[in-house]
Amino acid sequence: MAEILPLQEAVSELVRNGDTVALEGFTHLIPHAAGHEVVRQGRQDLTLVRMTPDVLYDQLIGMGVARRLIFSWGGNPGVGSLHRFRDAIENGWPHPIEIEEHSHAGMAARYVAAASGLPFGVLRGYVGTDLPAHTRTVAKVNCPFTDEELVAVRALDLDVAVIHAQQVDANGNVGIWGLLGVQKEAVLAARRCLVTVEERVPKLDPRVTLVLPSWAVTAVSVAPSGAHPSYAHGYYERDNAFYQAWDAISRDRDRFTAWMRRHVLETADFAEHLALVEAEAAAAGAA
């Protein structure tokens, strides 16, 4: 049965130094509020996992939270580079980071294998790419029935999965609709999971297409607009202007650090950060 906890308490209990953690979201439902809380609480030495590390992971990496990153595409979608991600890999700032990279199909298969309790997943992939030469979690395997050569990828077992969702009902069941990403697979691949939601409702909305039963979820925290600048279908749209603005904020180490101090370390919670973002956008609009 999912425990309904304040976000601060949930992060404190579920995410520990040295954990392998996926804060998932494929453009949609990215758990920014929870990610900020991880930074605020000073977690370190994490192995961060994500198919599409974007702005949130740029923030985590730039704040030195990650020792290692497992991923398949690291960029600011439609905008360009992730400057903190690049600075960590290219220059070791704020400290060197190990990477393990895959294709999307491979990462998806790894999550499915872990969610299924299998040691590896199998796919027809990685054809001719240099990727397997740089990762130990990809291997060739032959089909025992047809002898076709395929690729095995190691199951991606997580200590903790963190996702955002639209709703939790009175019984603790989590409801999601819109693009589903790998939210379900990440949750089921993890020993513990935290779901932040837009709101608590008596009964899930009929638009819900994916339900995570209460007993499969460790903790739920209510975090309105907790995916911003990502979006929650049916609640608010993707803040594309923020993604564009992030390019300039993150390009310079000092500007980035000052922004993170003001927006994360010196705010009490995500609501305070959101109010600050709004005030800054209004000031920029007036200027």
Binding site: T129, D130, H233, D239, N240
Partner: protein, 242 residues
């Protein structure tokens, strides 16, 4: 309308139009991020209204009113025939062979159409760390055919890739801002088969990092029509706006 059409045609616009024309009506197209997305949406709004757009975020049959900024914008889900999970889109729809055309962009390309989107320089000590593979390796290997859209320069058309992210697998076409290249049927090497209006063979050679082969039967791209341009410009004006 007249004012819009009076603007001179840019080389990027010719590239996008030429890329869009490669997509036939009714095809099932797996759309990569960036340049391919704009071209695919242009095709669907001009000669290929029944083109099925599939995005790796799980949208099948998306009909966005404007090109999405990311491959996971909400409008893709709202307008799609079906929304499936990411593992499903790659396993059931791509890997199982249901995709006619993989439509990809690239940071670097070699003469066989192999793609690098991983690093510039050494893998362990890169000069430039690029985003990485994303869906491209399997889009390239599991689609029936592949079309690549890329701006041509000595930095992008390189003699040797720093990293092979995805194998070109004899792309049906590589469409650039200068012209169109297609693989030699025997060797698979890309050959310049058409130039866009106003581009010389010499210019194409200068912007290629290997000795570029030119078809004996070199064609000339039909300039974008007024209709294609007006749809493209309307799409671009709406791009990325909420």
């Amino acid at each position: 309308m007249t004012a819009v059409d009076a603007r001179p045609v840019t080389s990027d616009e010719t590239m996008t139009v030429a890329a869009a024309r490669e997509l036939r009506d009714g095809a099932v197209c797996f759309v990569g991020i960036g340049l391919p997305s704009l071209a695919a949406n242009l095709a669907r709004r001009t000669h290929a209204p029944n083109l099925v757009l599939i995005y790796e975020s799980g949208a099948i049959g998306a009909k966005p009113s404007r090109p999405p900024l990311s491959i996971g914008d909400g409008e893709l889900a709202t307008t799609a025939d079906a929304v499936v999970s990411v593992p499903e889109i790659f396993a059931y729809w791509l890997q199982a062979g249901r995709i006619d055309v993989g439509f990809l962009g690239a940071a670097q390309l070699d003469r066989y159409g192999n793609i690098n989107t991983t690093v510039i320089g050494d893998y362990d000590h890169p000069t430039v760390r690029l985003p990485g593979a994303g869906g491209a390796p399997e889009i390239a290997s599991s689609s029936r055919e592949v079309i690549v859209v890329i701006r041509q320069s000595p930095r992008t058309f390189v003699n040797t890739l720093d990293f092979v992210t995805s194998v070109g697998n004899r792309p049906r076409a590589v469409v650039t801002d200068l012209g169109v290249l297609r693989p030699d049927p025997d060797t698979g090497e890309l050959v310049l088969t058409a130039l866009h209006p106003g581009v010389s063979v010499e210019a194409a050679r200068q912007r290629t990092g290997w000795p570029l082969r030119v078809s004996a039967d070199l064609g000339l791209t039909e300039p974008p029509t007024a209709a294609e341009l007006s749809v493209l410009r309307a799409l671009e004006d709406g791009a990325g706006h909420a």
